[in-house]
Symmetry: C2
Subunit: 475 residues, 2 copies
Amino acid sequence: MALSKTQILAELVSILPRHCIISDEETQRPYECDGLSVYCEMPLVVVLPESVSQVQSVIRLCHQYGIPLVARGAGTGLCAGAMPHAEGIVLSLAKFNRILEIDPDARTARVQPGVRNLAITEAAEDYDLYYAPDPSSQIACTIGGNIAENSGGVHCLKYGLTIHNILAFDMLTAEGELVTIGHEGLDSPGYDLLSLLIGSEGMLGVVTEITVKLLPKPEKAQVVMAAFDDIEIAGEAVAGVIAAGIIPGGLEMMDSYAIQAAEEYCHAGYPTDAEALLLCEIDGTTEEVQEHVDRVEALFHQLGAITVRTSRNEAERMLLWKGRKSAFPAVGRISPDYYCMDGTIPRSRLAYVLKRMNEMSAHYGLRVANVFHAGDGNLHPLILFDANVPGELEKTEEFGGKILELCVEVGGCITGEHGVGVEKLKQMHAQFSEEELAQFHRVKDAFDSRGILNPGKGIPLLKRCQEYRSIESAK
Amino acid sequence: MALSKTQILAELVSILPRHCIISDEETQRPYECDGLSVYCEMPLVVVLPESVSQVQSVIRLCHQYGIPLVARGAGTGLCAGAMPHAEGIVLSLAKFNRILEIDPDARTARVQPGVRNLAITEAAEDYDLYYAPDPSSQIACTIGGNIAENSGGVHCLKYGLTIHNILAFDMLTAEGELVTIGHEGLDSPGYDLLSLLIGSEGMLGVVTEITVKLLPKPEKAQVVMAAFDDIEIAGEAVAGVIAAGIIPGGLEMMDSYAIQAAEEYCHAGYPTDAEALLLCEIDGTTEEVQEHVDRVEALFHQLGAITVRTSRNEAERMLLWKGRKSAFPAVGRISPDYYCMDGTIPRSRLAYVLKRMNEMSAHYGLRVANVFHAGDGNLHPLILFDANVPGELEKTEEFGGKILELCVEVGGCITGEHGVGVEKLKQMHAQFSEEELAQFHRVKDAFDSRGILNPGKGIPLLKRCQEYRSIESAK
């Protein structure tokens, strides 16, 4: 039996304090979308519980009556993974914002899911430790959201994605049972549910407490900036660094649009006539950094870089990164709107993919600025468009979809670090066979047989698969 | 409808060449157990198919008639994970032993599941690459078995377990559908089935082809050996190395029994009067190794090591490792039998756990030799016993079980790298709640609803949970 909004509110009032319930449209407005605002929906109600037992009661209510439940961190995600369900409840974990313990000997932090990513590093700083994954949104995004989307960042080339930096968490199942997943040991008996749950976009459970790994701050870090007049050679330089056995802390590439926009925006000293710019951060002990910087500089010169410059101090290093880190807002200044894509390709196919993207850009008449985590093969093409021009948004979405399919075609995949959410449901059919998608659904059923947790996200319904394939083959 | 052995054989003959079927007891004998020979069982039949489509036909047969199917690599596992089922088929993947491709640019190898672990490194040597996980059995064990048990090894402290070194594989589901799991990209859309399947002990699917990561061989490696007259101080030294921000290629500890046995066996030059011996391998660039060796030596001296010696060349390095690597057979010479346990604890609890193990050793009247992957907190206590003394095997198993429960008590877990198999089913109840075990069963159902794949392993039946708890609380 489905409950009406009034009935759901009556039930919620009996399990939550009144100030934890938002039911009027105006106050709900900030929750109608996440960072991908083109997808938005008003929920029936938003709740902000203050204790695990309150969350448990909300989940049990949803389970009992089959009410869709969308858990939400800071809402900075870029794939509409936290978009509300029109018939459902948004469960904000914003009040779970406490750092419970830092253990410098074990190098772990125990935190609540609503703690901001950067706040963990700030709290660990007294011990010269930090939490490694650093999504661009790290000032705002929460660790719970990072787990939902298996977030990455500039440093994940060397230090891994969220999945490599989480040891354990407590989770409420779709039935409202509290279970502990993972532990501080090495391997885990039983199936590896920790890995399964990280990146599952809130569709398998609701995390209530997390133990993260902390790493010692590297003794030293330097950035080598190299500019190239040919983007293919820059791609070779990326492969060359990795082939030399050097794992940089970060290895980022920007193309000419992105370089120019960033330079105008924050004067990082990027050469604006370059076709491609690499930022290669080396971190480690002083000796190690010196040796690797020398080798990286030599390699870049050898490949014909038009400029090679290495930061001599922290101020210079921060300035070189500032340009890269503000590339998105910078591109926002040269175009009314932009759509940030996320896909991954084998590093060796970089040049080919860039060429194909340029062809598509000409075909659609839409400019693309490229910012990548090049070392990982993780692309972030920014398609520039104007939503006020009729049809341009639709054209942009189609172009974006084609970029993702190109990633699959060259042996890569449709996400790097942003997740599938609502945005990439269609491309899941390009990535996976019907049998593979059916297996995902069976896993979902094993955790959430009533399908209340974040319904409609991540895994497309199978009936759409045939449809998609027949449309594609007709093209 | 259950088939008789004759009926099953008749079906198999129609899908496999006759030489791929072993149905007489004598030829089946080598398949009756894996490396943990105390658990053994004769299967109905053993099959050794030669193509993926033959494997597919065998699985489909099992699925149709509900016949238990136990996939098997080299059978070197130590938890009876590959023990046959009396009513079932053993599926040996021994004939899938081809290395299909080495891609030195992408640093990957594509191999069949029956390829030996060390054979991958041997094949990659021409490119100065290697496959990192190195279980003690690496000469014999197969990559398919490594995936089943998420195997580790001496080098997994720095380079990770199997799960960190596998990019993708093809797998046949319990219905016999061929699916591809994972890819060479960074993150994966959909649920992370790759991680879920690695370590799932053949209970969720049968892997038919694997893409592994290859790493560049380190430029240099040296081993620092340090002897201590107090095992607790050796434990502190382990913590000290990690706390100094050094991640050794391997960091191993042996106690006095193990030192003496190893030294007698292969004259590695270990000081036989020591209470504990550390072997700390540093690998990397020449400069990095020099710097870290200096720091590690200084740390060991500072903590009062009675001997510190560093290998000066490859011959010395290999000799120092030879003692450690032959510790198991060496212990086999000082005792008629030994039982190798595997558990993981937080590094900080090492001294406490060793003390408690010594108390238990006195209680049971059974000696224990300790060999650990100390850097990981992964213990390998070897309980020395004599199977010909009535009751001593049972006492050994009870003692072993108590060691695993101790690991759980201090916040660790019941496996390090050996898996659960049959051996640790009982301790799964110490590790997990009933709700957590129920979730494992739901995951199993999502992959293998008929329960044909390796039944009776890994995840205990729930009805035993209550029973176990009541026995334990009555003690």
